[in-house]
């Protein structure tokens, strides 16, 4: 650990803690999950970077959305995302959550995930290689360092619109609102 690091640790321990202890929600949303086991096991060993699969969303701060999102999964994703404590970071993995990918004309997958929940980073490709996850993690470090990984703040501030989009895609949601919705005219 060099002097710069120590300085950063002393200045903002919370930020640095989040950087080096990214616990990912273990949620197999799509086929991208096939590359997660190699990443967390001996070949690529994500634990070196402090990335660890967490058993429950309450304990996690990183949400890797691995692959296409069908409408039914979107509901589970929103539930899981809202259960995670703040600050939380989301990374979309694969082409499909970015713009639908090869399921652009499927009636049951949503095309742009960032219409429904905020995304801090994308990994493009189908299937992205495991190394891409590490690039995404290091990129997320930079974003956290610069204070740019603010997806959860965006979600809180624009909750009304997100909720509106979610209800457009899913119909009426049965769970209560996470935040009070601000007046749009303000």
């Amino acid at each position: 650990m060099d002097r710069n690091q120590i300085k950063k640790w002393l200045e903002s321990p919370g930020k640095m803690g989040h950087k080096y202890s990214l616990w990912a929600v273990y949620f197999c949303t799509g086929c991208g999950i096939i590359e997660i086991p190699p990443v967390i096991t001996s070949r690529w060993d994500a634990e070196r970077f402090g990335v660890l699969p967490a058993p429950s969303p309450r304990q996690a701060n990183l949400f890797l959305i691995t692959g296409y999102v069908s409408v039914k999964t979107l509901k589970a994703i929103i539930k899981t995302y809202e259960q995670m404590p703040e600050p939380k970071y989301t990374v979309g993995f694969g082409s499909c959550p970015i713009n639908g990918g090869m399921y652009w004309d499927s009636y049951n997958t949503i095309k742009h995930l960032d219409k429904y929940i905020p995304i801090d980073g994308w990994i493009a490709g189908c299937m992205p290689r495991p190394e891409a996850i590490f690039i995404a993690v290091t990129h997320l470090w930079t974003l956290i360092d610069k204070g740019m990984a603010k997806g959860y703040v965006k979600y809180r501030e624009n909750y009304g619109r997100y909720r509106e989009n979610q209800e457009k895609a899913l119909g009426k949601l049965e769970w209560p609102r996470l935040f009070p919705i601000k007046d749009e005219n303000e």
Partner: protein, 297 residues
């Protein structure tokens, strides 16, 4: 002067326990990684995790939810004071083994209280598993404590440690069978495999921890680190003859490494299998040991 030393010890011994416990957590992860052909996280990773967790918002499910975790943490901290740590034994003369028997139940009960408020079915399954497991290992544990007390004719741990000075370890005395039985229930007391069913992530989403986030999880981790320390320290004190601080810690390390190897090479039991195992071999062995001790004395 004695009072000042006492107060100093009361402050220092939980700190030592905390540092050693968290170091063990880090070592645990590193060693597991090496056994699994991985490089593994840095040794201070648990500290980083704790820093992160304290900086994250946790959700509370009510007053009992908060109180329970604090109760279990307090129970663990108090327990540390009753255990001699390499010559440091702030409260070791008052109560001794009997107090330990009681206070050791605080941690599971506190977690049970806290989890009951969480209203997640995974927690209730986790709690029932944890309590059944506690019940299972308490039986041989009481036999072991009884044979120790009747062999040394005392309830004070300090006296027991003193009696073992100059390599008269109780592990190599007529208490040998008790030591074996203690070693057999050690994984259950530590909550490592094959007895980690109370917090099995693949079965019940880490059970009792499932609703903990942020500082609650941090407290839970600290409690885990402390209980790791307590159980191993107790074993070292009762059977491996204590010693001064460095020797004591080295002995703890040796026991801990054995525990990691056990953790790495076994899957987890089902709860009824665990109970069956704990009520069979360790109980029989410790009971035989108790009878042997009674016959000798």
């Amino acid at each position: 002067m004695v009072t000042v030393m006492k107060i100093l010890e009361i402050i220092v011994s939980p700190l030592v326990a905390l540092i050693v416990g968290i170091f063990f957590l880090g070592l645990f992860r590193k060693m597991m990684a090496r056994i699994q052909w991985r490089y593994g996280p840095p040794l201070i990773q648990p500290v980083i995790d704790l820093v992160r967790l304290f900086n994250q918002r946790g959700f509370s499910h009510g007053a009992v939810f908060d109180l329970g975790i604090i109760l279990s943490l307090a129970g663990a901290l108090v327990l540390v004071l009753f255990i001699p740590i390499g010559g440091m034994c702030p409260l070791a003369n008052s109560g001794g083994l009997l107090v330990i028997l009681y206070v050791m139940l605080f941690a599971p009960i506190g977690i049970a209280l806290s989890g009951g408020e969480g209203a997640n079915p995974n927690i209730s399954i986790g709690i029932s598993r944890k309590l059944i497991l506690t019940l299972s290992y308490e039986v041989p544990f009481i036999f072991i404590i009884l044979s120790l007390m009747s062999y040394y004719q005392t309830i004070s741990i300090v006296e027991i440690v003193k009696a073992q000075a100059h390599y008269h370890w109780s592990l190599f005395s007529p208490l040998f069978l008790s030591g074996v039985a203690y070693f057999m229930i050690l994984p259950a007391m530590l909550g490592i495999r094959p007895f980690d069913m109370a917090s099995a992530p693949q079965e019940i989403s880490s059970g009792i921890d499932v609703e903990y986030g942020g500082k609650y999880l941090a407290f839970s981790q600290i409690e885990h680190a402390l209980s790791l320390f307590i159980v191993i320290a107790l074993f070292v004190n009762l059977f491996l003859g204590g010693g001064n601080l460095p020797v004591f810690l080295l002995k703890m390390l040796a026991v801990f490494v054995c525990g990691v190897f056990i953790h790495a090479s076994f899957p987890r039991f089902r709860i009824e299998q665990a109970t069956k195992y704990l009520w069979f071999w360790p109980t029989i062995i410790s009971f035989i040991s108790l009878i042997v001790i009674q016959l000798i004395r």
